[in-house]
């Protein structure tokens, strides 16, 4: 089996587990919607323009639900010691890592695919023009968040306090992603030319590459038993 075949297999395993149990996606979605609704009450959007606060609110929702997704992603492996089987399997650990990143990106992507249109309705905002750029920004930044998040979640879920430790480590490390995501999204919403925010897009791409490369090298140490 090829390396990327294994990556796809690991991600497919997570998706199949989810399709059978349905314990994750729905609760993530409801949680993310709840974050949106809370902000909808916290700020008066008849006065504040959605373009100024909206991207930040959306990314707070994505990042919060992303942390839940990451914790879940490794907690299911700890249940019934499934992780033992994976560690014993003759596969490259980094392929397992990339598969986990892929499944996390897909879970977060599902939440984003619902939340972005929903926020457009909730806050009376049109997102249809420049949808391609919007998707590019979402994908690039979600990958970056999942890349570092998966590495850290593999570590923190081995402790008893992952719920606290994962965000504690991940949020500061993911600051560039949060800033890039919010800035890029607000530029896109405001309909500004690509050249105005190209540096942010390149930063997200660089962040993705650097930390996927670093995590591929480091993941083995995170998971050793």
């Amino acid at each position: 089996m090829t390396y990327f075949g294994i990556v796809a297999l690991v991600a497919a395993k997570d998706l199949r587990t989810e399709l059978r149990s349905r314990e994750q996606a729905l609760s993530l979605m409801v949680f993310a919607v709840l974050v949106l609704v809370v902000f909808n009450f916290a700020f008066d959007f008849t006065i504040i323009d959605f373009k100024t606060l909206g991207p930040g609110i959306l990314w707070v929702a994505f990042i919060f639900s992303g942390v839940l997704a990451l914790n879940h992603s490794f907690r299911i492996e700890r249940e019934q010691d499934r992780i033992e089987g994976i560690l014993l399997a003759p596969i490259d650990r980094s392929a397992f890592y990339l598969g986990k990143v892929l499944s996390t990106v897909l879970f977060m992507g599902t939440v984003e695919a619902v939340l972005v249109p929903l926020s457009a309705i909730l806050f009376n905002q049109s997102i249809t023009p420049r949808l391609g750029l919007m998707i590019l920004a979402l994908v690039l930044n979600t990958i970056g968040f999942a890349a570092v998040g998966t590495l850290f979640a593999a570590i923190t879920t081995q402790t008893r306090r992952s719920e606290v430790l994962l965000p504690l480590l991940l949020f500061p490390a993911a600051v560039p992603i949060a800033l890039a995501a919010v800035r890029t999204t607000s530029h896109i919403l405001a309909g500004r030319p690509f050249a105005r925010y190209a540096n942010w897009v390149y930063m997200s791409a660089a962040y993705d590459l650097i930390f996927i490369a670093a995590a591929v090298l480091l993941f083995d140490y995170a998971l050793q038993e």
Partner: protein, 241 residues
């Protein structure tokens, strides 16, 4: 010679600290516009250097640990991270004390302040993670991974915060070289050397302590006072003989 090094460093630090106090408060001239509060800068800037030194040493020792798997590298990485957090805390305390009278605010979203705070948060997270490990080997491996990711992240964090604040005027211009009075410059240099000595002294002491802790643990294990899988914090004497 090797055994003498910590004592020599301690003696040099003990000499350098009073001399640096003398230079900061009696030799260096009072800054014209900022007044006496500017003198905190002789502690603030060297502390920032030491914070970066701690983070750098921690990352290098972490990489060495993952490569060679020798315990002493991890003990050094841990010691460097603790010192990094210590000096970073001093930076974050002295900064606002200076900023309040000069800028009129305790805190702003300025790039250096913000990225220093994020740096501090990453390494506090590093220390907390180590506390939650089941054993030394696990703490070492996890710590090394986080330290390396953190070190790679710092330049990106700095750049991103800089771009984020891009529209704001640059308020901070302290280490702007050239404009600094030669006496002030010499004082700063001397303070940096003093802090370097202090750092080295604390580092060696902390590493020595770490090695001793480990030796005690090994010995206790050998005489059966400690079960092989003891969690940190269970302490010696948890299970009597």
């Amino acid at each position: 010679m090797r055994a003498m090094l910590p004592r020599i460093l301690l003696a040099l630090t003990a000499l350098a600290v009073p001399v640096s106090l003398h230079m900061v408060f009696l030799v260096a001239p009072t800054e014209q516009k900022m007044g006496v509060v500017q003198r905190i800068f002789y502690y603030h800037v060297p502390s920032a250097f030491m914070a970066f030194l701690g983070v750098g040493v921690c990352a290098i020792m972490s990489a060495l640990y993952l490569w060679r798997k020798e315990r002493r590298f991890d003990i050094m990485a841990h010691a460097a991270a603790e010192l990094g957090v210590l000096f970073c805390t001093i930076v974050l305390i002295t900064g606002p004390i200076w900023a309040r009278p000069i800028w009129g605010v305790w805190w702003t979203g300025e790039v250096r302040l913000t990225s220093t705070l994020i740096l501090w948060l990453i390494y506090v997270g590093y220390l907390l993670l180590r506390e939650n490990a089941d054993n030394r080997e696990q703490a070492a491996r996890w710590g090394a991974v986080v330290a390396i990711v953190g070190a790679l992240d710092i330049p990106i964090i700095y750049k991103s915060v800089e771009w984020w604040r891009g529209l704001h005027p640059k308020v901070l211009k302290i280490s702007g070289g050239g404009g600094l009075d030669p006496v002030m410059e010499r004082t700063l240099l001397f303070c940096t050397i003093t802090f370097l000595l202090l750092f080295a002294t604390l580092f060696l002491e902390r590493v020595r302590l770490g090695l001793q802790e480990e030796e005690i643990e090994t010995l206790e294990h050998a005489i059966g006072r400690r079960p092989a899988t003891a969690a940190p914090g269970t302490g010696p004497g948890g299970i009597g003989s």
